[in-house]
């Protein structure tokens, strides 16, 4: 399939605004998707991520803005002329056609010769590992198989752009995890520019080259998964991606301090009025008695301790009253010496793991 797939197209979204009454579904959104990139629009429901995808597909007409596929302006182009593959949350397979009929549909519309259609349909079905399923009826398929047929149908005509609207949300967790990896591989194999919508942060982190975090119709941050997790632009992003505890810190002449004590931080501190120290539960540890781990020391009292098999969750109260969550590894060696509720403990946060972010919520 790779050999014959045409060049992927970059997408350029500029100043797109869409209002419903007084609500800004999209508020002056600009975004560049690189050619061949897997970009995910991640956000809570009602954030505008699906609206943006529908604008890309041509089903929602924005109030203003520009949309370029490559060097072609397409904002006023009808959906059926945009030549983008699209998969839907509920698959939207045609129940009155067989699997092969569904996959052949876009080829028939394009006037592909009958002899060629059969071969291309079978090839597309093989790509999604459903070779030989052509004669099945849609209602004979499982959820995962429907998802694959929908995918085959959206790639069989070799579009240069693929849009996916929460394609895995209807599958159970195990199948979802499996399909995430498979979609990732398929994207590497086909190389088309892909815009993927999800509200599942782990799915976004697993699959994407870059993630655009969307909220209130605006892009909060556009970055690689690693950048997004390690250096969130603001509190909304930090909160939405992963679990964290936020500690209010104050700026000092030399850096920042928490509860009067200066912190040693090896990450840059943003130039913002409100500053928060973001503490990821898995990046904080119980301090060693011999001080050999040498980081920021935070005294605390254990308020809750939950054993979860592979790890334990410790909630402890800091000196300023904040409850801080820590996730620790469970090993045979520390199994008997785990902290208990009411224990006084000292937590250790390495300077590399201390991330100060802009305190704005959105």
């Amino acid at each position: 399939m790779t050999s014959q797939s045409p060049e992927a197209l970059p997408i350029s979204v500029r100043h797109i605004t869409k209002t419903y009454g007084r609500v800004h579904a999209l508020d002056d959104v600009s975004l560049e998707v690189k050619s061949g990139e897997f970009l995910t629009l991640l956000g809570p429901s009602g954030s505008g991520k699906t609206t943006l995808l529908m604008v890309l597909a041509g089903f929602t007409r924005p109030d203003r803005g520009s949309l370029m596929f490559g060097d072609r302006e397409v904002i006023r182009l009808a959906p059926h002329l945009r030549n983008v593959g699209m998969t839907f949350q509920n698959y939207a397979l045609f129940p009155h056609m067989t699997v092969a009929g569904n996959v052949a549909y876009p080829l028939k519309l394009r006037g592909v010769p009958r002899a060629e259609i059969g071969a291309r349909v079978e090839k597309a079905l093989e790509t999604v590992r459903l070779g030989g399923y052509g004669n099945r009826r849609i209602d004979q398929l499982s959820g995962g198989q429907k998802q694959r047929v929908a995918l085959a149908r959206s790639i069989v005509f070799e579009p240069r752009i693929l849009l996916m609207d929460e394609p895995l949300s209807a599958l159970d967790k195990k199948l979802r995890d499996h399909m995430q990896i498979e979609l990732r591989h398929l994207h590497e194999q086909l190389g088309m520019t892909t815009v993927y919508v999800t509200h599942d942060q782990r799915e976004a982190l697993t699959m994407s080259d870059r993630i655009a975090v969307v909220n209130h119709g605006r892009i909060m941050q556009l970055a690689t998964p690693r950048e997004l997790y390690e250096r969130p632009a603001n509190r909304f992003v930090a909160d939405f991606i992963g679990d964290s505890t936020f500690l209010a810190v104050t700026r000092t002449a030399t850096g920042v301090s928490f509860a009067g004590a200066p912190l040693s931080i090896s990450n840059p501190i943003p130039d913002a009025a409100d500053l928060l120290l973001m503490v990821r539960p898995e990046r904080i540890t119980l301090a060693r008695d011999d001080n050999s781990d040498g980081g920021n020391r935070l005294p605390a009292v254990v308020r809750e301790m939950v054993y979860q098999g592979d790890s334990y969750l410790l909630q402890s109260e800091l000196t300023d009253g904040t409850l801080l969550t820590m996730r620790g590894a469970v090993r045979g060696a520390n199994l008997s010496a785990m902290p208990a509720v009411g224990d006084k403990v000292t937590l250790n946060l390495a300077p590399e793991d201390a991330v100060v972010i802009d305190g704005r919520a959105d």
Binding site: A57, P79, M86, N90, Y105, L109, R110, R153, L163
Partner: protein, 297 residues
């Protein structure tokens, strides 16, 4: 095993509960079942028996042979089917686009139009039929207006003929088509059409290749309903047909009222019932019959 120590383990009690539950269910539905037997099964069976009774009071097939032999009877059946078929076709042509329009409207506006569909549905058929007579007759409103507006010069005969019958029947039958069609249309996933269009189908193409086939069960159910109702329709053709359009139901009435020939009337009724039964049986192979009751989803 532990079960041998407690062999019964409530089995008898649970079984008693189950049969009690079944008995209660039967008890609840008994009045309705009894009513169906009394008002439907018994009279139909009686008519069936009567249809095999000749003029001399003995068993005879004369009521059926008459239908085959007499040209006038063949003509009545022909007209009945003709009127039913044309009415059904017109109902499809007028009702499907209307249902489509309703399905595309926002719910508030759709409800308003739905009332417009249902309001005549709740009005007496007799009243509506006479209203059409008032509108369509030679000195009626439509002729008067058309002449005063110069659309045509002479009064047009729109009633007491086939066209009057068809106009009246169409009006009465439309809701029976619109309701099931609207039901299936509302059940069509809007993403289907979007999917077709993202795959490259123009709006027209997406409609005919995806939307229309998905609404066919509703259209089929509605058309079937209209056709079967038309077969036995009486009031409208009797009032608006002006005696020129004689359908089976009207022949049944004249057989009883004029000739007091219950056997002949019964035989016609039995034939209509059998035809409707055959149509439904054939249709059941293509569509779930509960859709006839509207939607059926």
């Amino acid at each position: 095993m532990a079960t041998s120590a407690v062999p019964d383990l409530n089995a008898a009690g649970l079984k008693r509960d189950a049969s009690l539950e079944q008995f209660r269910l039967f008890g609840l539905s008994f009045p309705a079942l009894a009513l169906v037997v009394v008002v439907l099964v018994i009279p139909v069976a009686w008519l069936f028996v009567l249809s095999f009774v000749g003029a001399d009071g003995a068993f005879s097939l004369e009521n059926y042979t008459r239908m085959v032999e007499l040209k006038s009877y063949r003509r009545i059946f022909l007209i009945t089917f003709q009127v039913s078929f044309i009415t059904t076709a017109l109902a499809i042509l007028a009702g499907y686009p209307f249902a489509y329009f309703l399905a595309q409207m926002p719910p508030r506006i759709a409800n308003l139009f739905m009332i417009a569909v249902l309001l005549p549905f709740w009005t007496s058929v007799l009243v509506r039929t006479y209203a059409w007579l008032v509108l369509l007759q030679k000195q009626g409103l439509i002729n008067q207006w058309a002449i005063s507006l110069g659309i045509w010069d002479e009064p047009v005969a729109m009633v007491n003929n086939m066209s009057g019958t068809l106009i009246g029947m169409l009006h009465i039958m439309l809701p029976f088509l619109i309701l099931p069609v609207y039901g299936t249309m509302k059940a069509v996933d809007q993403d289907m059409v979007k999917a077709a269009s993202s795959l490259g189908a123009s709006p027209t193409r997406a409609f005919w290749s995806v939307y229309f086939p998905l609404t066919l069960p509703g259209l089929f159910a509605g058309a079937l309903m209209v056709f079967i109702l038309c077969l036995g329709f009486y009031i409208t053709p009797a009032v608006l047909g002006g005696g020129k359009i004689i359908m089976v139901s009207m022949k049944i009435v004249s057989n009883i009222e004029l000739f007091v020939n219950w056997g002949a009337a019964s035989a016609l009724g039995v034939v209509l019932l059998v035809i409707a039964g055959i149509i439904l049986w054939a249709a059941a192979r293509f569509v779930r019959l509960d859709q006839l009751a509207g939607g059926g989803h």
